[in-house]
């Protein structure tokens, strides 16, 4: 018991530091940071859907720094090839052997910028990496980092030459976030920080080792989900499938993602069980990435579905 408690406090302390650190980088966005951490703990991937210059890259970098892991970045352009992402075998004239040159996916945190600007072919190259955490090159599977975390961004305005992400790809992301513009106070802080001398060193330290992260991820996996909460999840998922304004509802994989991130959210709140509130809190980012609606306003549809399914009560 005491070990568990100790673990728990340790975890909470680490998570709090991570919150603080990310909060210093991305000002006034504590709610989004919370979800990003939840996504990380849920062993998922994150899709950022936002305007340029709102701090997506900064966030990704900060996450990588917090973990002390490697950050790789791909700038997705139409001429990007799958091998540019995954890596390739090169014939070494000296050794007369093929040598494997790992691509950027072999990092701990992968930032795929403007993912919807590249071709579907390259997008698909990420599929296996994201789902299986391995890539297969010339029939040889290569395992990726165990804490492999993809942060992809897509640009909503830029429709020229954009290839919308296929549903299969979208479904592999756990959540979609919109960081949005910071509020007035935060913007003032940003300006003020920019005039200070760069004190990068204070950021540059690891708060959560990869091993630590793996432990927490395993802990998240074992968080209790009460049968009634599970039923609630199933009800919600079925509601998305039965709704007339939704073309594609939530898949079983999406449902698993949902449960996992609800568990992660519970851990973030310092609990070892999931409550209906956790499910509701993460519903919007989870659903917005994978619901294909006929109505232009996805948020409205999500709100309606959440309002129509009765939440489990205290009884």
């Amino acid at each position: 018991m005491s070990v568990v408690m100790e673990n728990k406090t340790e975890t909470q302390a680490a998570l709090q530091t991570m919150r603080d650190q990310l909060g210093r980088v991305l000002l006034g966005k504590s709610a989004q940071i919370e979800l990003v951490i939840a996504c990380l703990l849920a062993h998922g991937h994150l899709l950022l859907d936002d305007l340029p210059g709102t701090g997506k890259t900064t966030l990704a970098k900060a996450v990588a720094e917090c973990l002390g892991g490697r950050l790789a970045r791909i700038q997705c352009t139409p001429d990007l090839l799958p091998t540019d992402v995954t890596g390739f075998n090169l014939f070494n004239q000296k050794t007369r052997e093929f040598e494997f040159h790992p691509g950027p996916v072999f990092a701990d945190v992968l930032l795929a910028d403007e993912l919807n600007r590249t071709t579907p072919r390259t997008q698909s190259a990420l599929l296996e990496a994201m789902a299986e955490r391995q890539v297969t090159i010339d029939a040889v599977p290569h395992a990726l980092s165990e804490t492999f975390f993809v942060i992809a961004t897509q640009n909503p305005i830029d429709s020229h030459g954009a290839y919308p992400l296929p549903e299969a790809q979208l479904d592999r992301f756990t959540i979609k976030l919109e960081i949005g513009y910071p509020d007035r106070a935060a913007q003032l802080d940003i300006l003020e920080n920019a005039t200070r001398a760069t004190t990068h060193s204070e950021l540059n330290h690891t708060v959560l080792s990869l091993i630590e992260l793996k432990r927490i991820q395993r802990q998240v996996q074992t968080v209790t989900v009460h049968p009634r909460v599970r039923e609630y999840l199933v009800d919600l998922v079925e509601a998305t499938r039965g709704d007339s304004s939704i073309q594609l509802g939530v898949s079983p994989r999406g449902m698993l993602h949902w449960q996992r991130i609800a568990q992660a959210w519970a851990v973030l709140q310092g609990r070892h069980f999931v409550t209906p509130s956790d499910v509701v809190h993460v519903a919007r980012p989870v659903l917005s990435v994978r619901l294909l609606t006929t109505a232009p306003n996805v948020g409205g549809v999500i709100d309606r579905i959440m309002a129509s399914v009765p939440a489990p009560e205290y009884k």
């Binding site: 009460h226 309002a307 939440a311 205290y314």
Partner: protein, 733 residues
């Protein structure tokens, strides 16, 4: 309850109502035992199919499915069984029941919206059909109930989103479901009231009387299908026992000739019985049985003999001893008037009026010829819904006058279109002119008006120059209307005096001993009515005793012992209505209109009504207070429950309070989020609520530890209606 479960329950309820709607159509006409057996079987199957699932049985699905299947075919099985055991159920009824059972089985067995819709459509058809063919006006209530549930069902299935799409600001506290159910019922009732009285009334099919000389006690079912037409020949052809226009002596049961015999040109004068019988062919199927009855064939060895048996005596001769004078097919407990007298000289009543009219106006209605009293005809034709037509069969009445109910306006005898058959005597009674008596076995259709009590209320008392002219209009002093005085006079006679025909009394003696025959009651009542200022007259005739109704024959026998005397009072428009002063006789029924009943009820109970309104207004305006008390009381006694139940109850109490102040928890919002949003502005409460929610979450979803009652009580006490109001007010502000 999940949505599909709710849909299923609702469609089952609808189907059950459809099944119920068949019940009144069948219950009263069929063999009770079979009917009850069938419905018990239906119920049993229903229970097995529904409850079987909840108990642990081997292969519950198979059990439920087979029970549902059996349920669907139960009416068919019973139709066959009942037919086998010689108690057949009408095919239509079996078909309707099959329909109902099928609808129920569909609703129970289906997992799809489409099949459910089929069940609802079938049930709806059944309800509509049952309502339209039912005699009872209350069946409409069943239809309205069905419709309300159906609307509720449809709205929940198809309009739910509408409610959710509405912005919170315009979302009313009354949900869209109750609202639309109430609206559709209102519409339905308004529609019903609009078409009310504009569609033709359905006529009840009734059995009439066959002009058989066989008497009144016994009646042949086949003869009765002749339905009082006088056209007995058809019945007589097949049934020798019945009397008709057949001169054959074998078939004739009576020596008396019927009206049909006398006026049917095709037959002419009745033949003398001495002359040779003219036979009319019998139906083949009747030859043998009749032969067996009239002759006896015997076979002995090689010989064969047939002996004609002596004609049997009439088996139902007893009727002649029982002196039914007339037979009456209509309501019982009423009076049939023959003579009226309007002048009393202190000893004797005589008639002075001159209403004589032998030229009744002819009127062809539905291919039959009616003769109407010219003064009453327009009213009778205009208010046809107030006219009731009954059958009078005169057996042996030594008078040309026809005993008919009050306010009779017209007469009709089948195939008679001669004007000189009917007339009105000086005293206003119907009679057959130029005769010594009404021909025996005459069947007369009598159309009489009924009168609503409303018309009597406005009774005007004229100053008749009676001995006490001071008692003019309304007899002022007491401030009572003439009608009320009349009523009190009649009830005084009926309660304070004793009916005894055997005492020979004068009016004075009657008033002293308070005992006398009905003529004395009637005389006193008539004179008293004149004192009030009303025009009255004495009426003699017959009283149709309720117990004289012969259910098998479908008519009442009125004998000479039923002679009776009563009183009629004149209305302002010249019509006369009767009153019954003699105890032991039923009083005439004057139905008050709904409006009058309402007025009377309001007059009697307005103070209660006012109090009720004030009380309910008070209750409504103080609802927050007393419901709060109630909830607190419930919470106080809830200590006996298990901790988890207590937690549920505590939340329920808080939610009830919130609903009362119009900020109910949205369905999709978890209770924790809702509570936190409620107290978002209240730092003190916030802590309480947060702790409470933490513990509650831990108990319910973390399944460890238990919540203390102290903590629950804190929340129940903290989140009183007042605080909630304050909190929501802050939140919106």
């Amino acid at each position: 309850m999940t949505m599909s479960q709710r849909k299923r329950t609702e469609s089952i309820v609808l189907a059950v109502i459809a099944v119920i709607s068949v019940t009144p159509l069948r219950y009263f006409v069929e063999s009770r035992a079979w009917f009850i057996a069938e419905f018990v079987t239906l119920l049993g199957m229903f229970v097995v199919a529904e409850v079987g699932k909840t108990f642990r049985v081997a292969r519950p699905k198979l059990l439920a499915n087979s029970a549902t299947g059996l349920l669907a075919i139960t009416p068919i099985v019973f139709a066959v069984l009942a037919r086998v055991f010689a108690s057949p159920i009408a095919f239509e009824m079996s078909a309707l029941s099959t329909f109902a059972a099928g609808s129920l089985a569909l609703a129970m067995g289906s997992g799809h919206d489409r099949t459910r819709a089929m069940s609802i459509v079938a049930g709806g058809f059944l309800i509509l059909f049952a309502t339209s063919i039912s005699d009872n006006s209350r069946t409409v209530l069943l239809a309205i109930l069905w419709m309300a549930i159906c609307v509720w069902h449809l709205v929940t299935n198809h309009w739910e989103k509408l409610e959710l799409c509405m912005p919170d600001t315009v979302r009313s506290s009354v949900g869209i479901r109750p609202f639309s159910a109430v609206a559709s019922i209102t519409l339905c009732i308004i529609g019903g009231l609009v078409v009310h009285d504009r569609v033709g009334e359905s006529n009840r099919f009734s059995f009439g009387i066959m002009p058989t000389s066989g008497g009144s006690k016994w009646s042949d079912s086949a003869a009765r299908t002749g339905i009082g037409t006088g056209d007995a020949a058809i019945a007589a052809k097949d049934h020798a026992e019945s009397f008709g226009a057949v001169e054959s002596d074998i078939f004739l049961e009576s020596t008396e000739s019927s009206l049909f015999d006398m006026f049917s040109d095709s037959i002419g004068e009745p033949k003398k019985t001495k002359t040779a019988a003219r036979a009319q062919a019998m139906g083949n199927e009747n030859v043998l049985p009749l032969h067996e009855r009239a002759a006896k064939s015997e076979q002995g060895g090689t010989s064969f003999s047939t002996d004609r048996m002596p004609p049997k005596q009439h088996t139902h001769f007893s009727d002649k001893v029982e002196d039914a004078v007339i037979q009456w097919d209509g309501p019982t407990g009423i009076r049939l008037a023959t003579d009226r007298f309007d002048n009393f000289d202190g000893v004797q009543w005589t008639n002075t009026a001159t209403h004589r009219n032998e030229k009744l106006s002819r009127c062809d209605l539905d291919q039959s010829v009616w003769f109407f009293d010219p003064t009453a005809e327009p009213r009778a034709l205009k208010q046809s819904e107030n006219v009731s037509v009954n059958l009078l069969k005169v057996l042996r009445l030594a008078s040309p006058r026809l005993p008919v109910p009050m306010m009779t306006s017209g007469l009709h005898i089948k195939d008679i279109d001669r004007q000189d058959f009917f007339g009105i005597e000086d005293d206003g009674s119907f009679f057959m002119p130029g005769r010594d008596l009404v021909p025996p076995l005459t069947i007369v259709n009598v159309a009489s008006l009924s009168v609503m009590e409303d018309e009597l209320i406005g009774l005007n008392a004229q100053n008749l120059g009676s001995p006490r002219p001071a008692s003019g209009r309304g007899a002022g002093a007491e401030g009572c209307s003439a009608y009320e005085q009349l009523q009190s006079m009649v009830s005084h006679l009926r309660t304070e005096f004793t009916f005894d025909r055997n005492t020979e009394n004068s009016v004075e003696g009657f008033l002293q001993t308070r005992r006398g025959g009905d003529h004395l009651f009637a005389t006193v009542a008539a004179l008293k009515a004149r004192e009030i200022g009303l025009e009255s007259r004495l009426v003699t005739g017959f009283y149709v005793r309720p117990e004289s109704f012969d259910i098998t024959a479908g008519h009442a026998n009125v004998s000479s012992g039923d002679v009776h005397v009563w009183v009629e009072i004149k209305l302002a428009d010249g019509r006369w209505f009767e009153i019954e002063p003699s105890p032991g006789y039923r009083e005439p029924v004057y139905t008050p209109s709904l409006w009058l009943v309402t007025k009377r009820f309001a007059a009697a109970h307005w103070i209660h009504g006012l109090l009720a309104i004030v009380a309910s207004g008070l209750l409504y305006s103080t609802r927050l207070i007393w419901i709060e008390w109630l909830l607190t009381g419930v919470w106080l006694v809830s200590g006996i429950l298990r901790p988890k139940r207590q937690l549920g109850l505590a939340m329920r109490i808080v939610e009830t309070r919130a609903r009362l102040i119009g900020s109910a928890r949205p369905t999709g919002k978890p209770q924790r989020d809702w509570l936190e949003s409620l107290v978002a502005r209240d730092v003190h409460l916030q802590d309480h609520v947060k702790q409470f929610c933490d513990v509650a979450d831990q108990t319910i979803f973390g399944e460890s530890g238990s919540i203390e009652r102290r903590r629950l009580s804190t929340v129940v006490r903290a989140l009183k209606t007042k605080q909630l109001k304050l909190a929501t007010h802050k939140a919106t502000a």
